[in-house]
Symmetry: C2
Subunit: 301 residues, 2 copies
């Protein structure tokens, strides 16, 4: 296939998965009447508010590569998107990044209020675990327990939340490149790597295949973050659907501040190549994942 | 045994379990050097800051009643206490109850800052799941997955967090008794019931025995909350280690505002009796749990 065919096949898979993931999320967060209805409303607002669904798509694509059930994969994808949505809701809070805009709409605490946003984030995290651990996700309890344990490791103090703390503590002072790498490997990379890994856990593949997918996920996650830094410093808020130039305004060290725009772009391409290399033992079934490695560094938002 | 012997045996078990639970928590939250050290510091501050350990003790006592391993039970107890600590850290935030004092010390956001308190709460929730799902908690993945799934159900939008939202939404207006009951069954009751249930899940007991323990946990949890309302309106801040008279000041409907002090005390005793009744099929090994049902309505803080 030519690169262009890869790219149009990717777009089709991505759009198909996006719509299936939205439907799965919708069915997992049914509205209930009562004084607590506002909680589900806020959870739905945060989890169904668009977004690229990169994480959910990764889980679905890796599961499909290994022949796991699509229905199971969609539940795993919804769970990862719940976790991601919770992190965005809390990151946007006034005491954190204080961001009024997310995906082109008011952030959750602006649309509701701070207390509801904090609690909606809390409950989205809980739902992520609840969905994975439900027997509907997989009949084998070891697979359910492993999916949920790996999510906890990727998102807790040694993963996403730990990275967010390093990010906050680093504001206003220059961090060296290795510390920026560690920050992003934890803050963004861990959950992207998990999304790929989860598809492999679901399919119960060999350690060798799982390791190859983890390496792909690691490189893809870092490539994504480097590309994000480039976009943050070059794209407009309209293109991004969120506040632009935020990192510079907050005095944060980024790949762009450390490597320059051209250096950061070259780094993103190098990581994207490494992600492709990690897939060398797979046949053409992995072409969508290969195309995704190009997409994350070429995207405009 | 006379009631007095029950009570001194209870105190001994409680103090022994408290010290073992603190030690388990301490070992599960090791400090790490680096920019994220403050996260672990805040998690430890919130999780090791004293407290009655009622939830952890319940898990340990029910596990012991059914002969489950104490080491496993202590991990389950630590997990429940992580979950409870996360809920207190977030409840105390300025946009929620705005409380400066907790267990006689500055609340976590006063000791650190708001961002760190939110993230420490987030990571404590994650750790609760991580600890349960670790193979060290139990060799059977079905038991691990069931422990974690039941925790998710008890603490998410249909449990603790949902109850907290009903509580917030009800501020400043009169709630009827049945709505106050529902609120507390979710906000406080669900996690107390889970703590008892978790001991039974860990031991893999019959459905009949598990149901008896759930009924005990339900009645105990409600008795605890009614007694809490009585204490909030009669005890001093010094006795409570937290702000007193808070509910009345926030215009919240409580068992005391709905039933009067004497009515609320009678309700607490009735619930405590029902908790004891749920244990009627158990032998004298359940005497500590029976004494605990008296303790929760007789305590002074």
């Amino acid at each position: 296939m030519s690169p262009n065919n890869h790219s149009s096949a990717l777009k089709e898979s991505l759009s198909h998965a996006c719509s299936d993931i939205e439907q799965t999320i919708d069915s997992l967060l049914p509205m209930v009447p009562g004084d607590d209805a506002i909680l589900l409303e806020a959870m739905r607002y945060a989890a169904l508010g668009g977004g690229k669904r990169l994480r959910g798509f990764l889980a679905v694509e890796v599961a499909s590569l290994f022949g796991a059930s699509r229905q199971s994969a969609l539940r795993v994808a919804a769970s990862v998107e719940f976790l991601h949505a919770y992190s965005l809701v809390h990151d946007d809070l006034p005491s954190m990044d204080d961001d009024d805009l997310r995906r082109g709409r008011p952030s959750t605490h602006r649309q509701f209020n701070e207390a509801i946003a904090i609690l909606a984030g809390d409950a989205l995290q809980t739902s992520a675990f609840e969905v994975l651990l439900d027997p509907e996700t997989h009949s084998d309890p070891l697979i359910r327990a492993n999916l949920a344990l790996a999510l906890a490791k990727a998102s807790g103090s040694a993963g996403m939340v730990g990275g967010q703390v390093i990010d906050i503590q680093g504001e206003g002072r220059a961090l060296p490149l290795n510390e920026v790498r560690r920050l992003h490997a934890m803050k963004t990379g861990a959950l992207i790597r998990y999304s790929a890994e989860a598809g492999a856990i679901l399919a119960g593949v060999t350690d060798e295949r799982r390791d190859a997918i983890i390496s792909y996920g690691n490189n893809l996650g870092t490539a994504f973050q480097v590309a994000d830094d480039v976009l943050d410093s070059t794209a407009s808020a309209e293109e991004l659907g969120k506040t632009a130039g935020k990192d510079e305004a907050n005095g944060k060290s980024t790949y762009v501040s450390l490597l320059g725009i051209d250096g950061a772009k070259a780094e993103a391409r190098r990581l994207s190549e490494q992600a492709r290399d990690a897939l060398s033992s797979f046949n053409e079934k992995a072409n969508t994942l290969r195309a995704l490695a190009d997409y994350v560094v070429e995207r405009r938002n």
